[in-house]
Amino acid sequence: MFLDPESRWAQRLNLFLFLLPALTIYIVFAIYPTISVVEYSFTDWDGISPERSFVGLANYERLFTDKIFWAAFRNTFVWSAVIIVINVGLGLVIAAMLARVWKARLLMQTCIVLPVVISPMAVATIWRWMYQPTGVINQVLEGVGLGGLATPWLGSPDAVLYALAVAHSWSTIGLSVVIFLAGLQAVDENLYEAAHVDGANAFQAFRHVTLPALRPVTAVVFILTLTQSFKVFDIVWATTQGGPVRFSEILSTYMYKRGALENQYGYGSAIGVALLVIVSLATVIYMQIQSKEDR
């Protein structure tokens, strides 16, 4: 070595070499586009021509009066609300049941968590097939005498958003279950003993012991599910592309259409900024809750 490892220059060089690969890629392909999306949103760029002119807040003004944007905005919230109800509510119940089961627990947990690793694209193909007018969902409904509920799920303006939310929940609820299970393992067993001695039944124990103890974990799953569902693109794009008409249009699909397909880069970026702001706020809240828990 021609450099003394203790010297300042050697240390500088080391630091540089250790940080350089990650930092370069990160800044060029993550931080720079994040700054750019804000910059684009103030222009009328079409994504191709070398020229773009600054248009101030014009894209944002357009957002406020764009009925489709508000429909997508509303759909994104409805979609997230449905997923939160399923993933937090049902996820908690399933985790609580799993924690109390003594046989075949790993097998059942595996079945419930397995869909988490399936690609949203594959999830889309599977559910698109099951939701067909003559698909398995309608066949089952008819088989159990609920044929009146049968509907062409993904073609129905009333059902499509909910149907897609269920498909997305199927493939993500395992994550909530796993997080809840970890939280449940931290609940003091003595509390259950005490509840039992006091004559509480299983439901009362769940209501008065499990739920209060899990409040922080529930908050984590809540915000996590919220941010995750706001970011979704793949499954909606691969099933309905936001249709029929605009009934399953969410912010990400609308941004993709305007920006990538219609080359309205400025306007598409304004939609992207809206998405960025909502998700960042939710993530900041999430991290706040988590760091409070760590303490």
């Binding site: 999306v37 690793v117 698909g135 941010t227 960042s280």
Partner: protein, 269 residues
């Protein structure tokens, strides 16, 4: 609730959760003549013809190979760059460390969907559209923060004495990284490899934007296109789905514990 009732309810939920996958597998093995049977009827006579057809004629062998290359490179490079950066963040003293920490924290908040438009332009600027390298760079950039923090949390647990002792023995920083610190962080290496491979394998949006030439496409884009052109080819779509799912399902079954721990830790993505 009675214990047996509890077991029964959970059993039903577990079966319902895997049934979409099982029905897909059933359909993928059914001869076309058996498609009149209900989807929950197992195939009477197994056929591999749909797999052969999709694999050879529909180009899934190519898609599979492309996906495998991108995901593997992603996983390996991610382990290296994230652990190196985490090492610097934990063991080296320098000005601006806090700024760097905040910069990496920002990465946890950026939703990919929000920045794909400029990201596409940057990748195009480097001439990397329709090159696997463009997708790889984008994948790495968008997930590196998570793994830097994951490695950091392992490195913080390395006893300071161990690090100092190696330093006194005349080891260079890189030797300490290789021989002392990384062996302790094996669980983080496994988790990083699994998660990054999985995310990369499954992503559609970035690949849809960045890979438009058919021979460069991954399974996600290939399946989407196949679905668009062969809408009614139920058996073909099922076998395509199974081909895409098998590697990640196998990884999950082998490394379930690591996956579960990693997903809980890397949940922010």
């Amino acid at each position: 609730m009675g214990r047996w009732l509890l077991l029964f309810v959970l059993g039903v939920i577990a079966i319902l959760m895997v049934s979409p996958l099982i029905l897909t597998v059933f359909t993928s093995f059914k001869p076309t003549t058996e498609l009149v049977n209900p989807p929950w009827a197992p195939p009477v006579s197994l056929t591999f013809e749909h797999y052969v057809r999709v694999w050879t004629e529909a180009g899934f062998s190519r898609y599979f190979f492309n996906t495998l290359v991108i995901s593997t490179v992603d996983a390996v490079v991610m382990i290296v760059i994230a652990s190196l950066a985490a090492y610097a963040m934990v063991f080296m003293e320098f000005r601006g460390k806090l700024v760097l920490r905040v910069l990496f924290l920002i990465g946890l908040m950026i939703p990919v969907t929000a920045i794909v438009l400029p990201l596409f332009q940057i990748v195009r600027g480097f001439g990397l559209v329709n090159a696997h390298l463009g997708v790889i760079f984008a994948d790495l950039a968008l997930a590196v923060s998570i793994f830097v923090f994951m490695f950091s949390s392992y490195f913080v647990g390395v006893p300071k004495e161990l690090h100092d002792a190696a330093r006194i023995d005349g080891a260079t920083e890189f030797q300490i990284y290789r021989r002392v610190v990384m062996p302790i962080a094996t669980p983080a290496v496994v988790t990083t490899a699994l998660l990054e491979f999985l995310w990369s394998w499954n992503d559609l949006l970035l690949r849809l934007l960045l890979l438009t030439r058919d021979e460069m496409r991954t399974l996600s884009v290939g399946l989407l296109n196949f679905q668009g052109t062969m809408t009614r080819d139920v058996t073909g779509l099922s076998s395509g789905t199974v081909i895409m799912a098998i590697p990640v399902v196998a990884l999950f079954l082998f490394f379930q514990r690591h996956f579960v721990r990693g997903m809980t830790a890397g949940a922010v993505k």
